[in-house]
Structures are given as structure tokens and as C-alpha cells.
């Protein structure tokens, strides 16, 4: 690869060596993938969602395959932020890539507490705020569906955070650009989209929803056209960078997200199919840019709007 293409992307003060990250919940705490992939090759990776205290998650069954996709209802099982800091982060100290901590709370105060704890970790480059989770604070409908909630939460986190804040948005809304605008107004440094689309599979043998949680989140190749569309829509409405995620399984789809307006992309479900897929995608992007005569990946970000 004696290519002179510049793959670096800036998000605030952070420089990513390339636009390819791996997505929360599909890459563990990074360590699990070291056997399959040199993590240093990645632009960065996002941890499994962390909460203040360890969470057991939902009852099984938690996953089920669907055409070109899968549903999951893990229920944010995680080891808790303290264990993450003391047991996982030290093992990652020699890794030369950006680690983004994905955080999740059931109250605004919990998000703030998580932010404060992670403030002190030099190893963490940014926080990704998962607002796409059910039953936060006011209960009832999904928290992240309401732009006011997103504004209040983002502002509260921004006030205490020493790190850039990425707000991760749910696609299960009328108008995702409106939510993105709320995040931007509250000071978010970037938004990432999309989280999973709510779905259900029914087991015709038991005549019940297959997942113990009944509904689950649809991810995988099936959803990529929805993600690309939403990135395209949001790009026209906000100025902060967008991180594109949803169904990326090869460099062509990754490029579609970049062209729609994403500065960085995340690979989720595809990691399960091919643990080293992100490496292939990085190379695929490089080859494309080379062949098309682009000097830098930033030349194609949002190019589909021209």
C-alpha cells in the first residue's frame, strides 16, 4: 500500500488515522478482537455501553437472525464503569488508536456521573452518549425520541465533560434531523447515527415473540439504506460532524455513508461475520480514493449533496 491518500479525519481536536471505527456493543472492550485484528489499524473503536453499576441485561433469548440482519435485545449487559476502568482500560494502554466510551444511564445524573469518572481516563478520547435506550428518567416512550430530552441531557453532560461528546441517535423517529439539531444546540461535538431499528420476530412454534424482551433492535446489511438516508438528511441540517453507522459490510457501503455526509463510520454487526472486516474496509476506501484520484478522504465527505 504505497498510497499517498490521506485518510485522516479530524473531530474537534482528535485526529483519527482513518475514518473507520467499530460500533458499540459489537466490539466488546476491544481486547477480544486483538486475536483477529491489529487494533492500531483502526481509526478507533467504541466500547460496549457502560453504566454506573454493572448490569445483567435481559433474559435470553436475546438474538435472532432475520433476512440480511439480526435483532438483539441484550439490554445493555455490561461490567459497569469502574470495572471497565480498573480491569479493561489498563490492558489497552499500549493500543495506539482512539478509544471512545459509550455510556448509558437511567437518569441524567447517572450520565453525569459516568462522564466525571471517564474524565480522568487519558486513554479515552471521547464519549458516545447512547440516548436510544428505553425508560430513562421520565419513563414511557424512548428517551432519545424527544428533542427536549436530548437537549437537556447533552447540555448536562457537556457542562462537566473534558472530552468531546458524541450523541448517538435512534432512527425510530419522525425526523432525525430535528433531534440532531437539538444535540448540536446543546453543544454536542458530533452525532452518530443510526442505532438499531425496533423490530420483532414471532416464533410460530411457541406463538410468542421470539425474544424474551419481545422487541429487539434490527441491525446488519438490511438496514443500510435507512442509515445512509438519515445521514444524508442530517448533513443538510447540522454543522457538527456525523458518524455514520448501520449495516456497513463492505467499503462500498462505507463510502456511501461518507458521501452522504459522515466524517467517520462505524462497523457493527459485520464484525460478527468477519472479525477483521474493518481492515478490509479501510483498504477498500483507500483503493477507491486512489483509483478515483482523490487526495484525501475529506474530499468525498458529503459529496453526494453537490
Amino acid at each position: 500500500m504505497a498510497s499517498s491518500v490521506n485518510l485522516t479525519v479530524k473531530l474537534g481536536n482528535i485526529i483519527f488515522k482513518n475514518p473507520v471505527l467499530t460500533a458499540s456493543g459489537t466490539f466488546g472492550y476491544g481486547i477480544e478482537y486483538q486475536k483477529y485484528l491489529d487494533l492500531d489499524k483502526l481509526g478507533g473503536f467504541v466500547t460496549k455501553g457502560l453504566s454506573v453499576v454493572e448490569k445483567q441485561g435481559n433474559k435470553p433469548p436475546r438474538i435472532i437472525e432475520t433476512p440480511c440482519g439480526m435483532l438483539n435485545a441484550i439490554g445493555l449487559q455490561n461490567i459497569g464503569v469502574d470495572k471497565f476502568i480498573f480491569e479493561k482500560l489498563p490492558k489497552l494502554k499500549d493500543v495506539n488508536t482512539h478509544i471512545i466510551a459509550n455510556i448509558y444511564g437511567s437518569e441524567v445524573s447517572e450520565f453525569v456521573e459516568l462522564t466525571e469518572k471517564l474524565n480522568e481516563q487519558d486513554n479515552i478520547s471521547a464519549l458516545e452518549i447512547n440516548v436510544s435506550c428505553p425508560n430513562v428518567a421520565q419513563g414511557g416512550a424512548l428517551f432519545g425520541k424527544d428533542p427536549d430530552n436530548v437537549f437537556v441531557l447533552t447540555s448536562a453532560i457537556k457542562k462537566v465533560s473534558k472530552k468531546p461528546i458524541i450523541v448517538k441517535l435512534t432512527p425510530n423517529v419522525d425526523d432525525i434531523a430535528f433531534i440532531a439539531q437539538a444535540a448540536q444546540s446543546a453543544g454536542a461535538d458530533a452525532v452518530s447515527l443510526i442505532n438499531t431499528i425496533t423490530g420483532m420476530v414471532i416464533d410460530t412454534k411457541t406463538k410468542k415473540p421470539f425474544l424474551a424482551n419481545k422487541t429487539g433492535g434490527l441491525s446488519g446489511p438490511a438496514i443500510y439504506p435507512v442509515g445512509v438516508r438519515m445521514v444524508y438528511e442530517v448533513y443538510e441540517k447540522i454543522k457538527i460532524p456525523i458518524i455514520g453507522v448501520g449495516g456497513i459490510y463492505n467499503s462500498n457501503v462505507a463510502l456511501q455513508y461518507l458521501m452522504a455526509g459522515a466524517s467517520l463510520i462505524q462497523i457493527g454487526t459485520a464484525n460478527f461475520v468477519k472479525p477483521d472486516i474493518s481492515k478490509e474496509i479501510i483498504e477498500g476506501i483507500r483503493t477507491y480514493l486512489d483509483e478515483e484520484g482523490f487526495k484525501s478522504v475529506s474530499d468525498i465527505i458529503g459529496i453526494a449533496h453537490n
Binding site: I63, P67, G220, T269, P275
Partner: protein
């Protein structure tokens, strides 16, 4: 890892043996499994988990039953083609040489990993063992050792393999078991009763197979554990059987 298929043939009704060229780059324990990619494209999307039915310097064997779309497509693969496998994954059977009387108890396609275990016991540990395998009917049988139970009585003991093995077990036994969940549950209650040891290999829907998706968990005395990397082999006392 893309490995060459040596053979993919039907060895019993709806049951295939897939032999793959062994590159001799890794070891594998009885009870471990591979995540197999069915196709080079997006459908079916996820890899399928299959236990190791045999492993030697020449080949890796998987024995699979055709149950859905993935396994159906798998039957079309021919010798000479390549197949993408990830593994070996998970923890295999352990404490084999504990001096206890060894029992292999399998049901249906769950007999597969016990074939490799038997080979390991014979070649590595050179210990005596007894094997009890249950099937629904004659045409399903793909194993040439052990005592057989069939639900329709067409071969061997007429009924459930648990009923067949029950009387043999006592506190000096160690059981290595794999099979349908209901069979394992029954066997677990027998083992509690007889106070014998048992390791069970469990099944669960998997997305990653490597411990990151948290999709495959099973309820244990210590909360949820991942079948793919805390298992698939568990001490039966760990499992909350009522949840299964």
C-alpha cells in the same frame, strides 16, 4: 480461515459429515466449536456454530443435522470448495483424567462432540469409558459405538437415553453430556440425585461466537454467562436449569 473441504456426505437421515483439510495450525479440544460461514455473501448473515466431531492431523470433522436454511445450503458444498471457519472457540471438556468412571451421554446431533471426546479418551488418556446415545429412530443413528436408545425402540433400548443410563450413575461417575436441552435437564436432575459429576455442552443462538455480542447467555448461579466463551461446556451445577 478459508479451508478446503475434503468431503461433505450424508451419513444418516438428514445428517451430514463435513471433513475439512486440517492445516495443523492449531489444537482443538473436544467440546470446542467452530463458527462456520455458510456463504461468501450476506445470506444467511450470521455464522453457524458447530461442535468438533473429530480432529486429527488430516482433517477436522463436523457432523451436522439439516434443520434450517443455513444447514440446507451447507449440504450443497462440495469437496474441493473452500469454507470459512472461525475457531476453535470456547472451552472443551476438562478433568477427564480424574479417576472417576467416565460416561459419555449424548442425544441426537449432540452425540457429535462426544465422538471426538471418545477419540481423545482412547488415544490420550487410555481410560475406560461407557457411552450411551439416544436417537429418535434407527435412520438417525450415525455413531458406531456405545449403547443406543431409540424413542421408537427400533434399535437398542426403547425410550429415553437418560432412563437407560440412570441406573449406572453414582457418586464415582463423571458424565460428559451433550444433546437437546430437555434431555440435559433430565440428566441434570438425575446427577443431582446421584451426586455425580457432569459437564454439559449447551447450545444457544450465537451472533459472534467470541464473547462480544452477549447474545448467547445462559442463566447460571453467578448470573448470565456466555455459552460461547464461558462455555459451551459447563459444570451442570452452575446452570439454573429451571430457566431453561
Amino acid at each position: 480461515m478459508e479451508l478446503k473441504i475434503l468431503e461433505n456426505i450424508e451419513i444418516a437421515q438428514n445428517t451430514f459429515s463435513l471433513k475439512i483439510d486440517n492445516p495443523n495450525l492449531f489444537d482443538a479440544l473436544a467440546g470446542q466449536f467452530f463458527m462456520v460461514r455458510i456463504n461468501g455473501f450476506n445470506y444467511p448473515l450470521l455464522r453457524r456454530p458447530f461442535s468438533i466431531a473429530d480432529f486429527n492431523e488430516n482433517y477436522i470433522e463436523i457432523i451436522y443435522r439439516v434443520v434450517g436454511e443455513g444447514t440446507k445450503i451447507l449440504t450443497k458444498k462440495k469437496a474441493g470448495e473452500f469454507i470459512d471457519i472461525l475457531g476453535p472457540l470456547g472451552n472443551g471438556f476438562s478433568d477427564i483424567g480424574t479417576g472417576k468412571k467416565i460416561f459419555l451421554v449424548g442425544g441426537g446431533i449432540g452425540v457429535a462432540p462426544l465422538i471426538y471426546l471418545k477419540n481423545v479418551i482412547e488415544s490420550q488418556y487410555r481410560l475406560p469409558y461407557k457411552a450411551y446415545f439416544g436417537f429418535n429412530f434407527k435412520e438417525e443413528i450415525y455413531v458406531d459405538f456405545g449403547e443406543i436408545a431409540t424413542m421408537d425402540g427400533s434399535v437398542g433400548f426403547n425410550g429415553n437415553v437418560v432412563d437407560l443410563v440412570e441406573k449406572e450413575l453414582d457418586e464415582n461417575s463423571i458424565v460428559f453430556a451433550c444433546g437437546p436441552t430437555l434431555m440435559l435437564k433430565r440428566l441434570a436432575y438425575v446427577c443431582y440425585d446421584k451426586n455425580c459429576k457432569m459437564q454439559v455442552s449447551l447450545e444457544s443462538r450465537m451472533a459472534c461466537g467470541i464473547g462480544v455480542c452477549l447474545g448467547c447467555v445462559v442463566e447460571t448461579q453467578d448470573g448470565y454467562k456466555k455459552v460461547c466463551d464461558n462455555g459451551p461446556v459447563f459444570d451442570y451445577r452452575e446452570i439454573v436449569w429451571q430457566a431453561l
